[in-house]
């Protein structure tokens, strides 16, 4: 019988009306952060894949009096290789041999050409240690200072910076999320304790008639679950238009980096966990608060 789900006069608890608002805000923010984190991370993993594994350093031949100074160029190549091999996260660095270069160019230039005649940059193939963080920024600075003719793949450098930014955002997001969760828990504890204080005579009477603490805690848990669910549903509904709007914006810039920000079924699944977890968290917090408070009563 739902008619009388509680023996406590919850209708008089004005403080309780904070609760759905708070849970609504929590679900809204936590949901947005989860959605943001999920799409940024899918973007991130695609980006990381594209820069992990290998990268290329090119060394432009050093010219003197209109001729390539082979000796100086070789020296520069050697310096670059030394720097690369000392850099953390790099498995190997190897200059492409003339025959490898020729093989690379064959499809475009045919069989008969002299490599020396072409102002071709020398290429160094760099293999990265899987999953290792390579400080591309520092590498770039080092190369620029010591070997001005060498340059790193710029696209990858830029992606590396973006990844760092996204990671920072991720971290900020989780910090903010923890704050929102903590605040909501505090609100639940406050609302529950003040209700317990207001209804002390009723609770004493329930104890007197032989109620276990659990009988009372359960009513508080039920009540909190209802209030939190209202907030959670409204908060969740609030996120939906924002996600749809953002996805349609992302869809319009097809092919760009943003299109890597996919929001797939798995992401939806995770996102819909947010309101559920918010309700569970509030309910358990209320239950725990009542149990703890009642234990101090006779």
């Amino acid at each position: 019988m739902f008619k009388r789900s509680s023996d406590l006069p919850f209708a008089n608890d004005t403080a309780a009306w904070f609760l759905p608002w708070m849970v609504m805000l929590m679900v809204f923010f936590a949901g947005l952060m989860t959605a943001g984190t999920l799409s940024l991370n899918s973007m991130l993993s695609r980006w990381s894949r594209s820069i992990s594994g290998s990268l290329t350093v090119q060394v432009i031949p050093i010219e003197e009096d209109g001729r390539i100074n082979k000796k100086k160029t070789q020296q520069e190549m050697q310096d670059v290789l030394d720097i690369l091999r000392k850099t953390a996260g790099i498995a190997s660095a190897r200059a492409l041999t003339d025959s490898q270069m020729k093989n690379l160019l064959k499809p475009w230039l045919g069989e008969s050409f002299l490599l020396e005649d072409l102002p071709m940059p020398y290429l160094i193939d760099v293999q990265l240690i899987p999953d290792a963080e390579v400080d591309l920024d520092m590498l770039k600075t080092l190369l620029a200072r010591n070997t001005p003719n060498a340059s790193l793949d710029v696209h990858k450098l830029w992606l590396g910076k973006l990844i760092k930014l996204v990671r920072t955002l991720d971290f900020l997001g989780s910090a903010l999320l923890s704050l929102v969760i903590a605040t909501t828990s505090v609100v639940v504890i406050y609302v529950t304790s003040s209700s317990l204080a207001v209804h002390k005579p009723v609770i004493e009477l329930l104890h007197q008639t032989g109620a276990h603490d659990g009988y009372i805690s359960k009513q508080y848990a039920q009540r909190t679950a209802v209030l939190a669910s209202v907030g959670a549903v409204v908060g969740f509904l609030g996120i939906l238009p924002i996600i749809f709007m953002l996805s349609s914006v992302v869809g319009e810039v097809q092919g760009g980096l943003l299109s890597e920000a996919r929001f797939d079924a798995a992401s939806w699944g995770l996102l819909s966990l947010v309101p559920v977890l918010a309700v569970i968290l509030s309910t358990l917090t209320a239950y725990w608060t009542v149990q703890k408070t009642l234990r101090r009563m006779l």
């Binding site: 209708a11 008639t209 032989g210």
Partner: protein
């Protein structure tokens, strides 16, 4: 065979805060199935004594035993089961204003987990019996003093307690209603419930032949049927149990 006592007090003292002792050095025992009136002037400590019995507070000193067990070392988790064996009519009723008469009376059964259909049946029957058949769904604030008292009594007896403690249970009633509710207590007593009724109503005491526990100056005296503390010459014959 030793008599089993439902209530045993040994050198019990009770004081509120730093005040003087309201109950001093009280020792007595009530056998199972007995019926007592509890008398004494206003402020003599009747409600205080009862509150020790329904476990709302612990004595400042001495020991209280209920159903043969010392109340000071009962684990907290066992208190609900113990309290379910005790029915209490509070002097100030303590009805829940937001619940109907039915739901108020149903509380002891609900907290004990009885099935809802049995609860409805038993509660309606009892409320009918105490004369509230027309007010089953009335909220306490809309009931008269006597009607509230009847609800409070019904709540105290609905779970057929082994010990019934009633604090001035008929104070707000006409004599006819009072006699009717007394018969309810007597009926319960016949089935084995130990009953203690605090009252100022000498008429009630004269009508129903039960011994009385009298409180005065923090001390307790038990008088057999027909004896009363006003009759000074009888005081010497008062029994101390």
């Amino acid at each position: 065979m030793a008599e089993t006592y439902v209530i045993e007090f040994d050198a019990v003292g009770l004081r509120y805060g730093q005040g003087a002792e309201v109950l001093r050095d009280i020792s007595f025992a009530l056998p199972a199935g007995s019926f007592y009136f509890l008398t004494g002037e206003s402020g003599a400590g009747k409600t205080s004594l009862l509150s020790l019995l329904y476990l709302a507070r612990s004595p400042t000193r001495g020991s209280v035993k209920l159903f043969g067990k010392g109340v000071h070392n009962i684990p907290r988790d066992d208190l609900p089961e113990l309290r379910r064996r005790i029915g209490v009519v509070f002097q100030d009723f303590r009805l829940l204003d937001h619940l109907s008469a039915v739901d108020n009376v149903a509380l002891p059964l609900r907290v004990a987990g009885y099935p809802e259909d049995e609860i409805q049946k038993r509660v309606a029957e009892l409320l009918m019996w105490v004369g509230l058949g027309a007010h089953l769904n009335a909220k306490p604030p809309t009931l008269s003093g006597g009607q509230k008292q009847s609800v409070a009594i019904a709540r105290a007896v609905i779970n057929r307690p082994q010990l019934l403690l009633a604090d001035e249970p008929t104070g707000n009633m006409d004599d006819k209603s009072a006699a009717r509710l007394m018969r309810l207590f007597i009926e319960l007593n016949k089935r084995g419930t130990t009953v203690v009724i605090a009252t100022h109503n000498e008429g009630l005491i004269r009508t129903f032949p039960y011994p009385r526990i009298h409180l005065a100056n923090g001390q307790l005296t038990i008088y057999p049927v027909g004896y009363s503390p006003d009759q000074a010459y009888l005081k010497t014959e008062a029994l101390r149990v």
